[in-house]
């Protein structure tokens, strides 16, 4: 029984049904959100009178462009506590509306534009949704090629986050500025992973995390390039690939292409081992300095992943068989609630998803008691707030932290806020104990850890093991992502070996795609996939050969979500609320917010939330580029 809150029960055969005798099973009573501090002038005055160190601190988007995040907090700098949080997606992209009435195949290219970094996964999730609706699936080599695209995308995504976004928060300049006493201690603290990463003292490691000049920063940049080079050998272009189509991949590959990819993938064997050791050392050092660092970004261990990397001989793109083929994926689907794996059924994962809009700039779409699709294609109950039943109706209003304040909906699974990401992927894989999981000679799931053993590259090939953490927060998210580099490299290597074999054997299994016709009748499809940053689904309804409804649910929608109607905050809001302010500051104006930023950045946000910080009336704004009044003056025509 995986649901605690939804009105779903299971019969003896394990079939899901709505609970008997409940009149409106999915109905709920909204819990009013608490009145925000700044909307209550009396409370505000009282707080300031009592404690002049209470401040509003907003972490605003760096640019005005799409996908941006604003993060509002009220902090008590004297007691070092966050008192209030609100996560706000600041712009409506409208993809669901733009896609209506179009050929479903257009969704692959159009949805890929949703992101400037990870467009490839949108293209693939879209292709999966379309091929389920079309009733087709790729030949085995097409599936393996898609797996290689995904692997190289993750091998790009994880280093870019760890080196270019999260790493600088732990670099020498950042630590010197915000906690000089920790920097001092780092200069005399020996590392534990010297054998893997080569650093004798923590200070040396932190110096090399320095933005733009640090060796680890530049090395991360190099590895993003290597992965992109591998990706374009199949995808043609990145981040907006040209070759992802329903039913496979629209290109050919041969052994020499595979050799080129292999040459790059094996370089991650050493890099993955080294990166894991670096983030092990960072966690160990900060935990040793102050155990409260374990609480930076902490929240319940509740997360979900739809699973990815399909078995070339199991995936048939049907919803009916989804639980079978999804459990044969290299990364199994999984929902983890309070640290325990509650299901590996992708159908139950799908049935548990709802999106709420009480605090988002959308209009409620449910009418009457009966949703358009009361069940999924296998007969499992669906909520009126499920993506297949959802309609996107934008309704911009003035921002109110108590009412509506975000363009992100509030996705919930079993009415709980969930996070997602590379760490959720390995967590679910580790807890299956290998039961619901494609066999791999390179990965072993123990039930409490994941062991990865790869052939020797330059470093000794001893196995590495990621352990399910006892505490959960920013450091563990980063550590999990670091271990995911080697995990991803292992899966890429496994798929490369399969690809060589398929090409050697030839025949129909070595084709890259399958022919199809666009059906004209009513169809449903769903692409259950993931970005490097986690959960990604595309829900499709089509009729008469065009899209009737299209719903995209991204990792950042889950994690940057506003509060839900049950009064629960979104994951960013919850994690920042629990974050102790351990930064060293004497005066409020010295406050940099490094611990809040570490907390948010550990989620690998797919939206800008980096610098444009303003505090009360003290605003730090970014100047336009220095060349705006260029030396040559306006161009005349």
């Amino acid at each position: 029984m995986c649901f605690k809150n939804l009105p779903i029960e299971f019969d003896a055969a394990g079939n899901a049904t709505l609970k008997d005798g409940v009149a409106n099973p999915y109905s709920y009573t909204e819990t009013p959100a608490p009145t925000p501090i700044e909307d209550d002038p009396e409370r505000m005055r009282e707080l300031f009178a009592r404690n002049g160190a209470v401040r509003r601190v907003d972490f605003d988007p760096v640019t005005r462009v799409a996908g941006a995040l604003a993060f509002h907090t009220v902090v008590d700098l004297e007691n070092r506590q966050v008192m209030e949080t609100a996560s706000m997606a600041t712009l409506f992209r409208g993809y669901e509306i733009i896609l209506k009435g179009r050929d479903p195949r257009d969704a692959i290219n159009i949805s890929s534009r949703a992101c400037g970094v990870c467009g490839g996964v949108h293209a693939t999730a879209s292709a999966l949704a379309v091929e389920m609706a079309f009733g087709i699936h790729p030949p085995p080599l097409g599936i393996v090629a898609r797996n290689l695209l995904l692997s190289t995308e993750y091998l790009y995504d994880h280093p870019i986050h760890l080196s270019l976004l999260a790493g600088p928060d732990f670099s020498e300049p950042a630590v010197r500025e915000t906690n000089p006493e920790i920097w001092e201690r780092a200069t005399s603290t020996r590392t534990q992973g010297r054998e893997e990463h080569g650093y004798e003292f923590m200070s040396e490691l932190m110096t090399d995390l320095t933005p733009l000049t640090g060796k680890l920063y530049l090395e991360g940049l190099y590895y993003t390039r290597l992965a992109r080079e591998a990706y374009v050998l199949i995808g043609g272009k990145y981040p907006h690939p040209h070759t992802v189509v329903p039913g496979g991949v629209a290109t050919t590959i041969d052994a020499s292409d595979l050799n080129e990819i292999m040459l790059r993938v094996v370089k991650y064997f050493d890099y993955g081992r080294k990166t894991a050791a670096i983030w092990d050392d960072l966690a160990a050092f900060f935990y040793e300095v102050n155990p409260k660092y374990k609480e930076i970004g902490t929240r319940p261990k509740s997360m979900l992943e739809p699973g990815q990397w399909d078995d070339p001989y199991a995936y048939d793109a049907t919803y009916e068989n989804a639980d079978i083929w999804a459990r044969r994926r290299w990364a199994p689907p999984g929902v983890v609630v309070d640290g325990e794996l509650v299901t590996t059924s992708v159908k139950m994962l799908n049935a548990g998803v709802e999106e709420f809009v009480e605090h988002a700039f959308y209009e409620e779409w449910t009418e009457g008691d009966q949703p358009r699709f009361p069940t999924d294609p296998s007969g499992n109950p669906l909520s009126p707030w499920h993506p297949w039943n959802k309609e996107t109706i934008p309704k911009p209003t003035a921002t109110s932290w108590k009412e509506k304040y975000s363009w992100s909906t509030a996705p919930r699974w079993d009415r709980m806020a969930m996070e997602t990401g590379a760490y959720a992927r390995i967590w679910a894989a580790a807890q299956t104990g290998g039961a619901d999981f494609r066999d791999s000679p390179f990965i072993n799931s123990t039930g409490h850890s994941l062991q990865i053993t790869l052939p020797k590259a330059s470093m000794p090939n001893k196995p590495i093991e990621w352990m399910i953490p006892e505490t959960w927060g920013a450091f563990e998210r980063n550590r999990g992502r670091a271990y995911s580099i080697l995990y991803t490299a292992a899966i890429a290597y496994d798929n490369l070996l399969i690809a060589y074999d398929l090409i050697r054997k030839g025949g129909p299994d070595a084709k890259m795609s399958t022919p199809y016709k666009v059906p004209k009748d009513h169809r449903l499809g769903v692409g259950l996939w993931s970005a490097g940053r986690g959960y990604l689904t595309h829900h499709l309804e089509m009729d008469n050969g065009v899209i009737e409804n299209y719903q995209i649910l991204t990792p950042s929608t889950w994690m940057a979500s506003p509060k839900d109607p049950f009064g629960n905050p979104g994951p960013y809001e919850e994690a920042v609320m629990a974050t102790p302010l351990l930064e060293n500051y004497e005066k409020p104006e010295d406050f940099k917010g490094i611990d809040v930023l570490r907390a948010i950045r550990s989620f690998d946000p797919c939206m800008p939330c980096t610098t444009h910080l303003h505090m009360d009336d003290r605003t730090i704004t970014r100047e336009i580029i220095s060349c705006a009044c260029g030396s040559d003056g306006p161009h005349e025509h």
Partner: protein
Amino acid sequence: MRVLVCGVGYRFLRDSAVGLWLTDTLAPQASNGIEFEDLGYHPVGFTQNLDERPDYDRIVFVGAVERGRDPGTVTAYRYDHVLPDVQEIQDRVGDSVTGSISLDNLVIVSEAFKALPDDVWIVEIEPADETWGEGFSPEVEAKLPEITETVWSLTKL
């Protein structure tokens, strides 16, 4: 001579897509060393792509940038290669790797990673409407011929 024209922006955000519209429109006329590229992606990837190619003699960036001018204002200028401080460069790298696409980020990060040639031009259009949807605001729509002419003239060295 090699010239690269880069359209920067987001599709389906009205005026924000004007740079991409321009490269889509002019791409069929690419010839004699003039190339057009859709730069609806992040600058780290762009700098890596440039490193793989033979050097360009000139790069022209074109896109909508809000700077408080009258909507539809077209401004073209030569880039002076002056960079902001390291912190701001890193902020823009961080911004870029979280999926954001902007002309300012693209130019600054590319310059910081030493990917740009000496001769760089920027063509900015002041947007009136960057909400979701297709098509342009009347102000920008009226300036499309001027934008096209401006960019096309910059392909001639």
